[in-house]
Symmetry: C2
């Protein structure tokens, strides 16, 4: 894939072997959609990153520096994806964070897949791998992602596009790399992200869009048996946007849904 | 600290920015005690690493290669610590593991702190940060360690040596970087590691030693209120060995314990 990479602003730098991002997954990332050299939702990503830095207690690099580096990796690219990773930086052995961290920045661009493909209604499965509960880390897009890695390694059928994940106590939380929304009796429902899962930027965009068009929204604990009776189902992430679901394997199939379509139109 | 580092056998190589160890914490590590250029418990560490590779589904580097690289980083060093990290290696964006991973090896030595200091009876606290439940990952020393990082960032009083951690459902599991043992009525008790926590190599050594000297051993779920009534308390890891506990802040203090001393003697 065509793209560019900057580590702390340098095209040639590598990552130190003692970077805490590598040692402990001690960092955060954002995966962002770009078009014509710009990242339309960059302010939302930066806001989530700032919240993450505050909660993990390390300093956020200046937003202007991040904006600059995103611009550099996007130079000359059309539709693209930018992955931004920041870590607590190099540190001695031992979990305790250093008092004065030197935060590492990694900005990588890659050409995006054609959007048309991604928008074909998806086929989902339910993963066996569940998500442990930790309110301190819930919502953050941090670098501790072994649960997602294990969930994605459960299937290799290319006909399956994504996998839904449950919490360790059996609630529906999200997909491996997306948030999930149900439509029930004309209301939009999405699982509360309070003790596990990632609170995606596109989830936030959809919740705001629903409020704008007067669609009732419910954010609450969702038991997975509600999937069988939902009128529509879709998932969201910052790269794909909204993707409708046509089938949850072994549970049910859906025709194209009107509310999903309406939300796609007003968030495109 | 004096020491040496090898990345995939090279003294000058860095880590690729797309290494899955950094992207997702997709890897494992071992921290090992060395003396006179040798790691006495290397076979136990390699066995745990092999189990971890099998469970995370990536190939273990040849043991002879690891042994070789440990020997190289220990050349000319006395009492030392070796940290061995292996990851699923570089990979494209996306959680799904690549079919044919090129595993990354990082071997780092550092001069050990004098053992005398480490053996002074420790002062512990109980951390607020809890551990989420995931049986698929429990026991492994994987690179998803944000819970330990958050737990260690809770205190900065240098008089406190370690913090005990509970599971999300309130059981005593381990310390941030150690396993924990209670002595109750002449029996040795340690929490079962079945849905969270690390199953340390030294924990295994102590359990075997206890069996050897005819000490009854119980591995089970342990509620934290048993700490207040335990006759002795100690923690273990591969670098420190066994370290007695003299105080759990706000709960109780202990005098030197006979069974702890006996186990220290026969595992030294």
């Amino acid at each position: 894939m065509i793209g560019r990479r900057l580590v702390n602003g340098s095209e040639t730098a590598g990552i130190a072997a003692d970077d805490r991002g590598l040692q402990y997954g001690d960092g955060l990332f954002e995966t962002m959609a770009a078009t014509g050299g710009r990242i339309p939702r960059l302010p939302l990503h930066l806001a989530r990153l700032e919240d993450g830095c505050r909660r993990l207690k390390f300093p956020m690099p200046p937003a202007s520096l991040i904006e600059d580096e995103c611009e550099r990796v996007l130079e000359g690219m059309g539709t693209a994806t930018v992955k931004l990773t920041i870590t607590r930086g190099p540190g001695p052995r031992g979990y305790r964070p250093t008092a004065d961290p030197s935060v590492t920045r990694i900005v990588v661009s890659s050409a995006a897949r054609p959007r048309g493909d991604a928008l074909e209604p998806a086929v989902l499965r339910i993963c066996d791998t569940r998500m442990g509960l930790n309110p301190l880390l819930a919502g953050l897009k941090h670098l501790n992602r072994l649960e997602q890695v294990m969930a994605c390694s459960e299937w290799d059928d290319p006909g399956i596009d994504e996998g839904l994940m449950l919490s360790s106590d059996g609630r529906l939380v999200c997909a491996t790399a997306a948030n999930v929304f149900l439509v029930e009796d004309g209301r939009l429902v999405t699982p509360a992200i309070r003790d596990c899962g990632v609170a995606g930027v596109m989830r936030q965009v959809v919740l705001a869009a629903a409020a704008d068009i007067g669609l009732p929204v419910v954010v609450e604990d969702v038991q997975p048996d509600r999937l069988a009776t939902a009128d529509e189902l879709f998932f969201t992430n910052a790269v794909v946007g909204i993707r409708p679901v046509q089938e949850l394997v072994g549970v049910r199939r859906w025709a194209a849904g009107e509310i999903t379509r309406k939300l796609m139109d007003c968030t495109a």
